[in-house]
Structures are given as C-alpha cells and as structure tokens.
C-alpha cells in the first residue's frame, strides 16, 4: 500500500517535532517527510488537514481475557478494539486462566497477537509478579522477561505481603523491568463496592476507603527507598493523597511512575447513585476533590501515563445486583475521546503532552524502543481527529464486551486510523 498523508500536524515527542508535515509511506515504511509533498495516482492520498499524526499510542493496562475468559474478550477482539481506539500496542494483564506466570503462557499470548488483526497491534504481556497471582512465591521473572514480559503485576490483587513486595522489587531490578502495583490494602477494602464517603453512606453500600490505596503506595515507596535500583509503577491511581505520595517520592528522585484511567479523571462516585453496575470498578470512582487532584497531577507531570484498565465483562455478568457485579469497564475505544474532552479541552494538557502520556512515557517506563518518525523507519503511527464530536454507542464497539458507563455521552476527539507492522487501518 502506498500512502500520501497530506497536511497533518505531526506531533512527535521523541524528536520534539510539532509541525505540519506531509508524509509518504510505502508498504509500511516512511519514505519521505516534508512540506508540499506530492505523489502519483498509484498513491492513496489522505487529507489530514486539522488532524494529528503521532507515534503509535500504547495502552499499558488492558485485560485481554485470553486464555481462559474468551466469553468476555479475545486477543483478536481486544486488538480490534485497540486499533479502533487509536492504539498500536497494548500491555495485557496476567489475570488470565492459566495466569501469565510461566513463559509458555507469555509466548502463547505474543504469538496469538501476531496472528490476529494482521498483527497491527503489538501485545506486550505484563506477567504475574507471583505464581498464580497468589502473592506467596515470586514468578520466574527472568524467564518471563526472556519470553517478552515487559513488567510484573498481580493486577486485580495487590501484593499484600511486604516481604514478597520487597523481593519482587529486588529481583525485578536485575532486569530493569517495573513492578506494577494494584495499590490496595485489602484488609481495609474487604467487601467494598464503591468509594467510602458521603455517597456510599447514602446508598448503604460498603465502601472502599482511599486510605486502602494511600497506605499501600506509602508502604511500597518505603520499600523503594530501601531498594532504589528497583522501578515501581502505581497502576490506576485514584486518590488525591496517593498522588501526593508519588509527587513527593519523585521529588526525592525515586524510580516511581504512575498511571490514571480516563474514568477516574472523568467521573465521580456520584454516578453510582444510578446503581448502574458499569460505574463499579476497582479502584472505585472517587470524589470531586480526587478528580481535581488527578487532573492537577496530570498537568504537573506527577502522573506519567493515561491507561484504560480495559476490563471486559459480559452483560449477564454485569446486569446483577450492584454488590454482586464484577469490577471493571471497557476503555480502549473511549480513551482518546475522554482524554481530549476532559483534559485538552479543559486546558489541563496540550495535545503534545497528551501524546507523551499515551505513547512516549509508557514506552519509556516499559523500556520499549522509542518509535522513530523518520525517513526509512517503519510506520508506527496513530492518526487522530482532535476536533470531531461523537456520541458513544457501545453497540459499535469492536470489543466483545459493552460494559461502559459512557454510552450516550458526547466525546471530543477520535482516532481515524493506525499504522503498524506494515499494515494500515483507517476508520470509515
């Protein structure tokens, strides 16, 4: 396929470029970058006036559910959702069945990903930090890194034992791979279904207090001070005080990073009043003050990454009593729209900073090679329309599951295409 991209704004935090440039792409390789480029009729010309060309976006927190829970999502449907959402790479979490705690499972996931959706989405496994995600014994980290794991996490469950967390940080530090903590002291959150506070008191639903998250982040940072060579990443940070802890630790120079989900910077626990189980996720939606603090932390760089925690569940699993419903919502296909609407439009982030948090920063944290946008390089690109307004319709999702609280919401900004590994996908 031969493409001429005309008039797009190239935003490339790796090279620092932010300017209108044309691009000629032949069979997945960037042939030429320049102004006023033209090409003959054998090229498909794409008019990108008012649109953005960025390095391929990566979502470093996704549940692909395969192997084991293919009724919720498969690697194929998950990758299709990622591509539709503008991502050329995802990291998949290890809470599958079997758990990704063995190199054979990690290899299976990687190989399977290459065979679906023309391999347009790179899938990087996050392996379990402990065997079976049981929190008792370290997983074979060296072997897992050898099989392509880019991080370690027992996501969904916290690593509760301080001893095991210490060993995980020490062992993983030999390979320069981060330990990603689902920061939740489960002795404090046990049985809760939503944020503990005024709304949970009104609704009579047992709460998950913010202190469950803050205490775990504090504990881990104390461990990290003791093991400064390790790298620690807080998944889906949700509480204002947890963000404060990360900010202070960064000022100290610790190797700590963190991510936030679009739903945590968009919604508050007030939406739980509907008892819609698509408002149930872990960590839970917090208060307005927390949302404000998350936005401030995005602005000042304390939060490095936007990641979705894409967590597919079927309608039958979700359409039950609130307290019985599983945690989590899908996010791949609404991430760009929510980020532009809630962050760029509200002057929290520039588009340039948004692309750092959706592409360059997560790749750096995971030690993935930076995407080079230069002549002769393979095209790993996302094409975004930051101006289009659109209404979320879960029925149009490529994801197998439709559990989103954003159905019917008007968002701003949407992916219009992705290119990776010699392939191109453009939306209609």
């Amino acid at each position: 396929m031969k493409l001429l991209l005309k008039g797009g704004r190239l935003i490339d935090p790796v090279s620092g470029k932010d300017e209108s440039l044309d691009m000629i792409i032949i069979e997945g390789r960037i042939e030429k970058i320049g102004t006023s480029l033209s090409a003959d009729k054998s090229f498909q010309e794409i008019n990108l006036t008012g649109k953005i060309v960025s390095p391929g976006l990566i979502d470093m927190h996704v549940h692909l559910r395969e192997p084991g829970f293919e009724h919720k999502e498969t690697i194929e449907t998950g990758c299709a959702a990622a591509a539709a959402g503008g991502f050329t790479a995802v990291c998949c979490m290890p809470n599958t069945n079997p758990v990704i705690d063995d190199e054979s499972v990690a290899r299976y996931v990687r190989e399977k990903a290459k065979s679906v959706c023309d391999g347009i989405v790179d899938v990087y496994p996050i392996a379990a930090a402990t065997k079976g995600r049981q929190g008792a014994q370290l997983s074979p980290m060296a072997e897992l890194v050898g099989a392509g794991a880019v991080g370690f996490s027992d996501d969904g469950s916290p690593i509760m034992s301080a001893e095991i967390m210490r060993r995980a940080l020490e062992y993983s530090s030999m390979y320069g791979v981060p330990v990603i903590q689902h920061a939740e002291d489960s002795t404090l959150s046990h049985g809760g279904s939503m944020n503990e506070g005024y709304v949970s008191t009104r609704l009579g639903i047992l709460g998950i207090p913010t202190i469950a998250e803050v205490l775990m982040v504090e504990r881990d940072l104390t461990l990290l001070r003791y093991i400064p060579k390790a790298r620690y990443h807080v998944a889906h940070v949700s509480a204002a005080r947890a963000v404060d802890c990360v900010r202070r630790a960064k000022e100290e120079g610790l190797h700590v990073t963190c991510e936030v989900t679009p739903h945590h910077f968009t919604l508050t626990d007030e939406v739980v009043e509907s008892y819609d189980t698509n408002t149930k996720m872990n960590p839970p939606l917090r208060t307005r003050d927390d949302v404000q603090a998350l936005k401030e932390a995005l602005r000042d760089g304390t939060i490095d990454v936007i990641a979705t925690d894409h967590a597919p569940h079927t309608i039958d699993e979700k359409e039950v009593e609130y307290t019985s419903a599983p945690f989590g919502i899908v996010g791949l296909e609404t991430a760009v729209g929510l980020s532009v609407a809630e962050l760029v439009e509200q002057n929290i982030l520039t588009l340039y900073q948004l692309i750092e948090k959706l592409s360059t920063n997560p790749r750096t944290i995971l030690s993935l090679a930076p995407i080079k946008i230069a002549e002769g390089e393979p095209a790993n690109l996302s094409l975004l329309d930051p101006h289009v307004e659109w209404t979320v319709d879960v029925q149009s999702f490529r994801s197998k599951s439709k559990n989103s609280p954003f159905h019917g919401r008007v968002l701003k900004g949407r992916a219009i295409g992705v290119m990776n590994n010699g392939n191109v996908r453009l939306s209609d």
């Binding site: 503990e196 506070g197 008191t201 609704l203 639903i205 039950v320 009593e321 307290t323």
Partner: protein
C-alpha cells in the same frame, strides 16, 4: 392525589407532599383495621408478588395482610425453596414472575439497590421492603406515622437513632424521611458503626447516650447484630449494652417525655432493657399495627394511580 413515582424505592429524594400523602392515606386505612370486617376492595383483580430473598417474618406478614385487606391476589416466596438457590439471577426471577402478569412486586433483598435494579427490568410497580443496608421505606413511614399519632407533629421533634447506623436500612430511611418532614435527627452509636460523612445527611453524631438523652423527644433503637462483633466492629455485647443499651437508669437523664421505638425484632437487655421495651414510653407494638396501615396506603396509592 397521586404519588410522583410509580415505585416506592426509598425516601431519599421523596417529596414532603408524597410522604404526607402516604401518612394521611394510612389514617383512613387504620380506621378500616378497627372494623369488624377488615377488608376493602380497591386492589381487587390486582396480583401482587412478595419476593423475599432474605428471611423476614414480620415484614412479609405485614405486607401480605395489607395486600389481602385491599383484596389483591397474593403470591409470596422466600429464598428457601425457590429457584434462586439454584443460581437463577434476580433479573430472571423477576422477569418470570412478571411473565405471569403480576401487577406489583414487593421485594426484600440483601443487596443495596436491588429494588432499583428490579424497577428497571420489570413493568410492575416495585415496593422496596428492604434492600441491604440501603432503605426500608415502609418501616420509616410507619415510624413517622406512629410518631405523628403519639406526638402530633414531626416538625421540630428531636429523634435520636441509636445503634448500628452503618448497616441499618431503617436508620437511612428514617434519616431521609424525618429530615424532609422537618424533624431534627441525631445518631448515637460506637464510632465503628457510624458511617463516614453521615453528618452531610444533616444529622448530628453522638457517641455517648448521656450526651444526647437530655435533648431528645424520641429514641429509635436499632437491633444490634452479633456478626458485627465477629467482624471486630464492637468488642462485646456486654460492653455494648453497658454503654449504648437504652436502660431505665440512663433514661433518668431525659428532660422531656421520651417516646421509645424499635423496628424489631428486639434483643432484650442488649440494645434495650426488657422493662423499657414493655414500658409506657414504648410504642413498639403500635408500630407493628401501624405497619399494616402504612403498607395498605402505599400499595393503594401505587396500585390505583397507574
């Protein structure tokens, strides 16, 4: 006169006019209950299903009596012996019952929001007979009805709810309803059983009965459940009784005549001493009688205004 909603899910957000309407309607139904023939025809031809996913004798009997006295056809089930124990979901159970052309559903369930959930998936009118720790609106309505009978008006009355507020649907519904009706509401209990930010509901918080007793007109004493002790939320029943149990000795601190209520069933000599429960201060049995009248009123208003 009509209610603003076709369901009775809770008192949170219910208007003063609607609460007033139910209380006023219950007055005439209470009069029916004193007649030799206690049956009236307004719900003739209507079918009501009582779905009790949680065991309850008193509330279920009270609803069934109210339904029969309004001449409705009544079907009831409790979880034991129903297909729910075989893994059928709440949604499927509800839809099956509805497929049998039921007009109204009364639901008791251990999950907060179960009645709201049901009201979204079925066409029938839904009455919440208690959903987890969330609401128990007919209990609060009958409490308010009883207080209005006993004290004339709710306006300005100081009602203190004593005990495990965190896990109590009776407490929540009473707080919402009483505040809407202009009463002053406080809660008193161990700090571990008072929910976070409860002050934002407009109530004041006490941890010593001695501090609040001189100020109250009414004590609504909640049942304490032993499983809360097992979960470490209070140390022992003995200590609970000593510091939070309502007794004759503590009542000596009251400066006004105090009405004592309890939603039942009572743990005698735990949250309330036996002599007080049976004393002239207590309206516990009137509450039970009024429960039938209030449920008749709620069923009548929802069942005849479709």
């Amino acid at each position: 006169m009509k209610l603003q909603s076709r369901h009775l899910l809770g008192l949170d957000g219910m208007s003063k006019e609607d609460i007033q309407l139910i209380l006023d309607t219950a007055v005439s139904f209470k009069e029916v209950l004193d007649r030799p023939i206690k049956k009236v025809p307004p719900l003739q031809g209507k079918t009501i299903a009582n779905m009790f996913f949680e065991s309850s004798t008193r509330t279920r009997l009270s609803f069934e009596l109210a339904e029969r006295r309004l001449s409705a056809d009544v079907v009831s089930f409790t979880t034991a012996g129903s297909s729910v124990s075989k893994g059928e979901t709440l949604k499927d159970t509800a839809r099956n019952i509805e497929a049998m052309k039921v007009d109204m559903v009364v639901i008791r369930h251990s999950a907060a929001g179960a009645a709201h959930f049901l009201s979204r998936v079925v066409q029938a009118n839904v009455l919440n007979a208690g959903d987890g720790s969330h609401e128990h609106p007919t209990q609060a309505l009958l409490d308010m009805f009883t207080l209005r009978e006993k004290r004339g008006s709710l306006e300005g009355l100081h009602v203190c709810i004593v005990g495990d507020v965190t896990h109590s649907r009776v407490a929540r519904s009473n707080i919402f309803g009483l505040i809407t009706m202009g009463a002053k509401v406080s809660v008193c209990g161990p700090a571990t059983l008072i929910p976070r930010d409860v002050e934002k509901l407009g109530v004041s918080v006490y941890h010593r009965l001695e501090d609040v007793l001189p100020k109250v007109d009414v004590l609504n004493v909640l049942r304490i459940q032993l499983e809360r002790q097992e979960r470490g939320l209070f140390p022992s029943l003995r200590e609970y009784h000593r510091y939070f149990g309502v007794t004759k000795e503590k009542m000596a601190l009251a400066t006004k005549p105090v009405t004592i209520m309890h939603p039942g069933p009572i743990n005698r000599d735990v949250e309330i001493s036996a002599d007080l429960a049976d004393s002239e201060h207590s309206v516990i049995l009137q509450q039970v009688t009024n429960g039938v009248a209030i449920r008749m009123a709620a069923l009548y208003l929802l069942g005849t205004t479709n």
